[in-house]
């Protein structure tokens, strides 16, 4: 919890205080490889089910405003 607290930014900062932090890049791991394989399978599936004529599909989806 203490670590988590540290990472938190204060709710307010003056404009001068605003800084950017470098994001850490995680090293590749066996779990990462597995996720990559799963993602490939998912993308294969999307290629199969995505509406064939994407342009027409998107163009034809016109709604009336609601609420």
């Amino acid at each position: 919890m203490a670590e988590q607290e540290k990472k938190r930014r204060p709710a307010t900062t003056t404009r001068e205080e605003t800084t950017t932090e470098e994001a850490e890049t995680p090293a590749p791991s066996p779990q990462g490889e597995k996720l990559k394989a799963e993602l490939d399978d998912l993308l294969d599936e999307i290629d199969e089910v995505l509406e064939e004529n994407a342009e027409e599909f998107v163009r034809n989806y016109v709604q009336k405003g609601g609420e």
Partner: protein
């Protein structure tokens, strides 16, 4: 003082009639009728509708109350929900739910009702036609339709105070409740190079406060239609959210909002109230800021960020929970779960949004779009990415891209299927749903706060249900079980 946060979600679904004549009102009617025509149900009673009443006690000049369309199909289901045609969309309004987890359950039950409707309507359509529904909020061409939330509130709390204190939450909660979309579609964003936004709805908001829902959309909607005892209660009608498919996102959208409303009712801000300099500008800006770190101007000249503001609200909510408990969210354990999830998701977003891609729709969708874009080397304006965006929301299992993602579930599938026909047990929806289950043919009509029985003798008998926390299983299950007919039920009710 805080009142139990009875809540519900209304969803207008996008509709596309493949092979149809382009009349969305007719298509929506076909869809809803196909589902309700074989069911035990009652028609809607419009007696107490007053969507033109303004919570500020006046109607602003130029304000247009929404039109009530009494001629279109409009049914009450045995689970206590309302299923109908609203403008040019099928709409499922969940029954009153006792806690945010139950709101997730009935939101998912609503999706199932729409899926069954798509199957049912096929039988009535000519060969080659079908009706498809999308759980999203825009057509990417500048037309938006709503997903609204409702929360029971204490009438004694001044509306201006609610509006002031809830606005920062409404502006920033999109970082976990946004459904995400490719590009932009309003004049305000014209000419800017926008690839992806966190929220579907944010760019459609033009006012801080107002009665409208279809034009000049306000961040805080002032519709004052409590559907309950107006002396004691108010119903906060929230129009500023996106429709979510991720269960954690729906849970957090409703749970965190209920919690911040409890803070407002119990005056638990501890002097740490933040006022945004320009909420309308900020809500659009947050939608465009995928880093979640862009400065948001505060009225006092300082700045904050969407994440920092959410951490601030989370901190206040946790303190509130320690001091007073979270029974007000309908269930202490569910309230604690809201806090845990809130913290977990804020940490995830802070680390990298991809960490919460199994919980937050915009992160899930963005991950999908980026991967698909990489694989095929697509530019952001490629139609295939727009198609991925749209098809994320397709409710057909065989087409839905969301359904192909391994997102975290909070409710059991069997419970969702049960909730298609069974009402919640801890709100007045129980009485409404049970009466319909048992004696649909004797229910002339129903609405949120009353039921009208036709016992075959004049006059019709109206049963008022002005308290959302009465009519629960605890109060009326024995009474219902002990009544062999609606006539007996009414006799015992008035005894």
């Amino acid at each position: 003082m805080v009142v139990a946060k009875v809540c519900g979600i209304e969803t207008e679904y996008g509709i596309h009639h493949v092979g149809g004549d382009g009349n969305p009102v007719a298509s929506s009617s076909l869809l809803v009728n196909a589902y309700v025509s074989d069911l035990a149900r009652a028609g809607w009673d419009f007696e107490d509708e007053s969507p033109g009443n303004d919570a500020r006690g006046f109607a602003r000049e130029g304000s247009m109350p929404p039109e009530i369309e009494t001629h279109l199909v409009n049914a009450v289901l045995t689970n206590g929900a309302r299923y109908y045609v609203d403008h040019a969309h099928p709409e499922f309004s969940s029954p009153e739910c006792a806690d945010p987890l139950e709101a997730v359950l009935y939101d998912k039950a609503g999706e199932e009702v729409l899926r069954r409707s798509m199957i049912a309507v096929r039988r009535t359509l000519p060969e080659g036609q079908s009706i498809v529904v999308y759980k999203n909020n825009s057509d990417s061409k500048g037309n938006s339709y709503g997903t609204h939330e409702n929360y029971l509130m204490d009438r004694a709390v001044p509306f201006a105070r609610i509006a002031h204190l809830i606005t920062p939450h409404f502006v920033t909660r999109q970082i976990f409740a946004g459904a995400g979309k490719v590009g932009s579609e309003t004049a305000g964003n014209a000419g800017r190079d926008i690839t992806f936004q966190i929220s579907q709805r944010a760019e459609f908001f033009e006012e801080e406060m107002g009665l409208e829902t279809t034009l000049k959309r306000p961040i805080v909607n002032t519709r004052d239609e409590p559907h309950a005892d107006p002396q004691r209660y108010r119903r906060l009608h929230v129009i500023v959210g996106d429709a979510n498919l991720c269960e954690v996102a729906t849970f957090l959208k409703v749970g965190t909002t209920a919690l911040v409303l409890a803070l407002i009712e119990d005056d638990a801000f501890d002097g740490r109230e933040l006022t945004l300099a320009n909420p309308v500008k900020a809500i659009r800006q947050v939608a465009l800021d995928l880093s979640l770190d862009a400065p948001i101007d505060l009225a006092d000249g300082r700045t904050t960020t969407a994440l920092a503001l959410q951490w601030e609200l989370f901190g206040l909510a946790r303190k509130y929970a320690e001091d007073r408990g979270l029974e007000c969210l309908g269930d202490e354990a569910v309230g604690q779960q809201v806090l845990l999830r809130w913290e977990e998701v804020l940490h995830g977003l802070e680390t990298d949004p991809s960490v919460v891609a199994d919980k937050v729709d915009w992160a899930a969708k963005l991950g999908l779009l980026e991967a698909y874009r990489d694989r095929h080397g697509l530019d952001w304006d490629d139609h295939r990415l727009a198609a991925v965006d749209l098809q994320y929301h397709d409710l057909r299992p065989e087409r839905s891209l969301f359904a192909r993602l391994d997102t975290e579930r909070l409710v059991k599938e069997q419970d969702v299927l049960d909730a298609v026909t069974e009402p919640p047990r801890r709100t007045r929806a129980y009485f409404r749903g049970q009466c319909l289950k048992r004696w649909a043919s004797s229910v002339a009509s129903a609405n949120w706060d009353s039921m009208v029985f036709d016992l075959g003798t004049d006059p019709l008998r109206r049963v008022p249900m002005m308290d959302p926390l009465r009519g629960t299983a605890e109060f009326v299950e024995e009474l219902l079980d002990g009544s062999s007919s609606p006539a007996e039920l009414l006799a015992r009710l008035s005894a």
